[in-house]
Amino acid sequence: MNEAEIFEWLAATGLGQIMRNAGWAWPLFETLHFIGLCTLFGALIVVDLRVIGFGKEHVSISSVMPFIPVALFGFALNLITGIGFFCGYPDNYWPNWAFKLKMALILIGGINALVFELLERRQLCALAPGADAGVQGKMVAGTSLLLWIGVIILGRILPYTGGLG
């Protein structure tokens, strides 16, 4: 299958048809996408800002870790609703530069999260309450916040950069 055939198939799926034809589908998915965004970013504020060093007199890094699954939940919500948007109009999204850049930043954000999980998390959780994270851990946390701010900006402007209207 080439690109055009894949897009044609995606647009013909039940999800693609619902997104285009049911009046409620697009606003519902958008609302859920915004709620997922707030859930993801809110959880990252709680975790990443603490790793960077804020609030260290009040909370240990290990005590903020339960918010990582919350971030993943928000991400999952946005992945599902995002697939819905894409299946609705694949041909409109794919050539859009803001969409492509958004996907690239999400990919880098995912790799960054893996680095956090595999290389940083154990050491960070082992720190005494009130202790500061290492430079590398702080950089991973800061990168995470910046990447997702970039994702939000690109997501908000992409309707205006690719003729989606």
């Binding site: 606003p27 958008e30 609302t31 915004f34 709620i35 965004l37 707030c38 859930t39 993801l40 970013f41 809110g42 959880a43 990252l44 504020i45 709680v46 800002l49 603490r50 804020f54 609030g55 009040h58 909370v59 005590s63 903020v64 339960p66 918010f67 919350v70 701010i149 939000i152 900006i153 997501g155 908000r156 402007i157 205006y160």
Partner: protein
Amino acid sequence: MHFLLWLKDSAIGTWVRESDYGYAIVLSSHAIGMAIIVGAVLMFDIRILGFARQMSLKWFDQIYTLAWVGFGVNAVSGVLLFCGNPVKFTFSTAFQIKLALILAGGISVWVLGKQIENPENLAPDGAVRRAAKLTAMLSLLFWLGAITAGRLIAYTTSPI
């Protein structure tokens, strides 16, 4: 009505509507501010409702400083967006509901802050009394409702 039309034709209103980057910058700022405010409030609410009890509520004192910055960003970007299309927003039911829900959401967070200041409402294991949990549930509903109403503005008004 006269004032709304004057606002629409003012330099600010025209800039938001017609400049190349004005609308994109203002809209993106509004989305980031939303992520900060609603994100912080949602995490606060689920913590009150019993999630991640080991984490001290004091962390939210600092997070709320940031949330106020987010609120400032959204007050400014919101006023700018309003100036771009004052007539459309004023007469949009979804917009009116959104503002009411933000007001209710703000009050609920303020009440919740007062409730957890009272040590009687806090158990040693980090749990919180039921009255505060009820406020947290209301806060969740108000803020998620504000997002929903905000999204619906675009579907219940004509473009531009």
